[in-house]
């Protein structure tokens, strides 16, 4: 029962071509778990996918995933919570080739959710009084200092899901879920790399994690 609203199945190259120069992209995954590695690495073959701002928990590992994009100088800025595990990122930052915005992991994921939920900004106690509070507005609630965190949004979100139905409803696999459902809400264009596409009705309506209204394109990587 395919519908016009169904997410369209496209190739890795068609997907990569949707990332323009200077785009802000969100990339799901915690380390390489739940990362759309095939999608990310296909960007290497598309020279326009450069000068990117990447919102992702990490920037991959050297020679893998976002780490390859970084090594090729495609990433101008990274917004995330943990870059230390990629020595290339540390080096690129030291040499002024990579701008970095570091956020606590919870504040980052909440800012992504806010970006997809029409919440302009929110107050959290996390990081108040620390070095990461520098330049941020502080306000007390019940005597506790909170930081104002603005929402994050992207032009394109690249996700990894376990399974999609033909409409684009998504389910994930174990801890590979992580940032993917949040990022599915917060980008103008949402592309999910999936292991499997099943007929409409094959996913339990109570178990859909990302409803298809959020998903534009599917890329099948068996």
């Amino acid at each position: 029962m395919p519908r016009v609203t169904a997410a369209t199945l496209i190739s890795l190259d068609d997907a990569a071509a949707l990332v323009p120069r200077g785009a802000t992209i969100m990339v799901g995954g915690f380390g390489l778990v739940g990362k759309p590695v095939a999608l990310v690495e296909r960007l290497l073959e598309h020279p326009e996918a450069t000068e990117l701002t990447v919102i992702s928990n990490n920037v991959g590992e050297p020679g893998k995933g976002l780490g390859r994009l970084l090594a090729e100088g495609r990433i101008a800025k990274a917004i995330g919570s943990y870059f230390t595990s990629n020595r290339d990122a540390v080096l690129a930052h030291a040499e002024g080739r990579l701008e970095v915005e570091l956020l606590p992991q919870g504040t980052m994921s909440e800012a992504i959710r806010a970006g997809g939920a029409g919440i302009a900004a929110f107050y959290v106690a996390t990081a108040a009084g620390t070095l990461l509070a520098e330049g941020k507005e502080t306000r007390e609630f019940d005597g506790v200092p909170h930081l104002l965190q603005h929402a994050l949004r992207a032009d394109v979100a690249l996700l990894r899901a376990r399974r999609a139905d033909e409409l684009g409803n998504l389910v994930y696999e174990k801890t590979a879920r992580n940032f993917n459902p949040d990022m599915a809400t917060a980008a103008d264009l949402v592309i999910a790399q999936v292991d499997e596409v099943v007929p409409v009705g094959a996913i339990d309506p109570e178990a859909v994690v990302t409803p298809h209204l959020l998903v534009d394109h599917l890329v099948l990587t068996p």
Binding site: A117, G118, P205, L213
Partner: protein, 211 residues
Amino acid sequence: MSVQRDIARRVAGHLRDGEVVNLGIGIPTLVADSLGDREGVVLQTENGMLGVGPAPGEGEADPALVNAGKLPITALPGASYFSSSTSFAFIRGGHVTTSILGALQIDGRGRIANWALPGRPILGVGGAMDLLVGARRVIAATTHLTKDGEPKLVAECALPLTAERPADLVVTEAATFTVRDGGLVLTEVAPGFDRAWVAAHTAAPFREEEA
């Protein structure tokens, strides 16, 4: 009821394939029945569901399956359920393409008043404000006149506005107005009505579509 069904049918004609549509209480709810087998339009209901199907048959209502008006509905294949906060996150986040809302009054800028009744305490708002702020496109679906025969399209609403953000389209049984450059533009007169009738029964200023 045939006037209400007429309006719903006219609204359905403005929906495009690929749209995710939220139906408000009242006349908008009737749009579901006017969609027939338009599979390209997917209905969302703010109490937490995507993929609303037609009303169930007699005696087939599922008590756990209702729309925002608390009326029984069905689920289409590919439907999904989510919490209220998630549902409104989708609405505010711009993931619902089109919101169809009823109206008590509409002003000359296309702004809707549909939540506070005249002379009554303000005790209900529901999801109308959220939808008006979040949906990418808003269609007001309303009778042209109140029960007392007064125009609903007025220069300034006497009733409190639901949002500063205007509707994009106003559909009545008599006419369709597009909101353009901050004002109402008459873009269609329904069969059985003419421009003179519309002009005589519309208290809001409006422009005519240029040929």
